[in-house]
């Protein structure tokens, strides 16, 4: 199947996604800041899109003591250091079909930085197309970024809210593998201290592994029609639903949050970043198998 251009895929917010070609044409655009965010810390230094800076999910986005995201001051410091001003359009991309890029995108939304895009197909597509990579790390001119409070209410769900959501029979999407969903295996079968004590899923959650949203050949997002067939036809969602998505630590579910929010236009989708590493270890919460 030939690749369908982004503007012909029927997305509700096509501007949230840019193609590799678009990025190639904007490498020298001062209003754009490319950000690579990966699972593997060796990937960015081994070669990245020219001009791209790196955001490391553990070091830059997570608080180093509390299991939480950084606060407004640290976020403003991060952006300022990377040459990202409030008017800068940030284009995220990365390895693993943009898992961590989507995660960084989502964290930026917690701080209200709406000038954000994902590069469709991620780093692998750029690489497969034979586009140039460099090991030269840019040194952007630091800029001032106004400190903004993080808003956790709109697109983030905490365990208490998830429990209320379950009691109210609200829709949940579990984006982990079918084996994790069924409880057949925990993510770390031999290391229970790093996984979860209980296997299974949050009661009422539908299983839609994140990868269903991606064309396996091209690595790009499927068309809106194809996505609707998955999330509405198979999982039974409707665009007006109040949806909670989760995975193991919140990165894969950021990917699905992006799909539902920006590609299908759902108005109320929250990412439960505590996800299974919290729920599967919590005392007193129900688990379904």
């Amino acid at each position: 199947m030939p690749e369908l251009s982004i503007d012909r895929r029927g997305y509700s917010d096509p501007e949230a996604l840019v193609s590799t070609e678009w990025v190639a044409q904007h490498l020298d655009d001062p209003s754009i800041r490319l950000v690579e965010s990966n699972e593997d810390p060796l990937v960015y230094p081994s070669g990245h899109v020219p001009g791209a800076v790196e955001i490391d999910w553990t070091r830059d986005l997570n608080d180093q003591v509390v299991r939480d995201y950084v606060g407004g001051e640290a976020f403003a410091g991060l952006c300022g250091r990377l040459g990202i001003g409030p008017e800068t359009t940030v284009v995220f991309y990365g390895d693993k079909n943009n898992w961590w890029a989507a995660y960084a995108f989502w964290v930026f939304q917690l701080f209200g930085h709406t000038r954000a895009r994902l590069m469709d197909g991620g780093r692998l597509k750029w690489q497969k197309e034979g586009r140039s990579l460099t090991r030269e790390v840019p040194s952007p001119e630091p800029v001032a970024y106004p400190q903004a409070d993080r808003d956790d209410r709109r697109i983030r769900a905490f365990r208490r809210e998830v429990l209320e959501h379950v009691r109210g029979e609200g829709p949940l999407i579990d984006v982990r593998s079918p084996e994790e969903y069924s409880g057949e295996r925990l993510h770390m079968p031999d290391y229970p201290n790093e996984g979860a004590l209980r296997g299974g899923h949050i009661p009422g959650a539908a299983s839609v592994p994140w990868a269903k949203a991606v064309d396996p050949e091209l690595g790009t997002f499927k068309s809106a029609d194809a996505l609707r067939a998955i999330y509405e036809g198979e999982a039974g969602l409707t665009p007006d639903d109040d949806v909670v998505v989760y995975c193991r630590i919140g990165e894969r579910s950021s990917h699905t949050w992006f799909v539902l929010t920006h590609l299908l236009g759902y108005g109320k989708v929250r990412n439960y970043d505590g996800s299974w590493t919290e729920w599967g270890n919590l005392v007193g919460v129900p688990v379904e198998k």
Binding site: D40, L42, P45, S46, P189
Partner: protein
């Protein structure tokens, strides 16, 4: 299946040191306490990764050679040599699997030519020693799987 997280599993002599070449590599690595320096060093190691030669294996690689849990699709060959040592080869199918390539280059360079007994002295949690504990769970599992494959091959030869 990956082995116990215990760095000293039953098959490993508690008093044993890693094979000399691996021990020397770990000593060199200790000169890079700074995270970014260590990353640069490991990238230079990954650059030395060489895929399994055609005379040993060609695509499609057999599933039984695939390291468990490795998202970078790493394949491992541990071939017994006439002198009783092992020759290691690797293939990493994901072009973004830089950590897996570094791990492959380290294992091939430091363990090829070792006896099975020496290879069983490799700590099963070696990836933590090399990459630190900042790697994600999925990535670490894959690297542990590569080490486990090499150790399993050595153990089979001694059985």
């Amino acid at each position: 299946m990956p082995e116990s997280r215990d760095p000293r599993p039953a098959t490993q002599d508690p008093a044993a040191e890693p094979p000399p070449k691996l021990a020397a590599f770990l000593e060199n690595l200790a000169f890079f306490p700074d995270r970014s320096d260590r990353i640069q060093f490991l990238i230079s190691v990954a650059d030395k990764y060489e895929e399994v030669p055609e005379e040993v294996a060609t695509r499609p690689f057999p599933k039984e050679r695939q390291a468990p849990h490795c998202e970078s699709e790493a394949y491992v060959w541990a071939l017994p040599q006439p002198d009783g040592t092992l020759r290691l080869h690797f293939a990493v199918e994901n072009p973004q699997g830089v950590s897996a390539m570094a791990m492959a280059a380290i294992l091939e360079d430091t363990l090829s030519g070792c006896t099975p007994e020496e290879i069983l002295r490799v700590p099963s949690d070696l990836p933590y020693e090399i990459f630190g504990r900042e790697l994600s769970m999925g990535k670490t599992m894959g690297l542990l799987g590569m080490v486990a494959m090499v150790r399993s091959a050595a153990r089979r030869l001694l059985a």
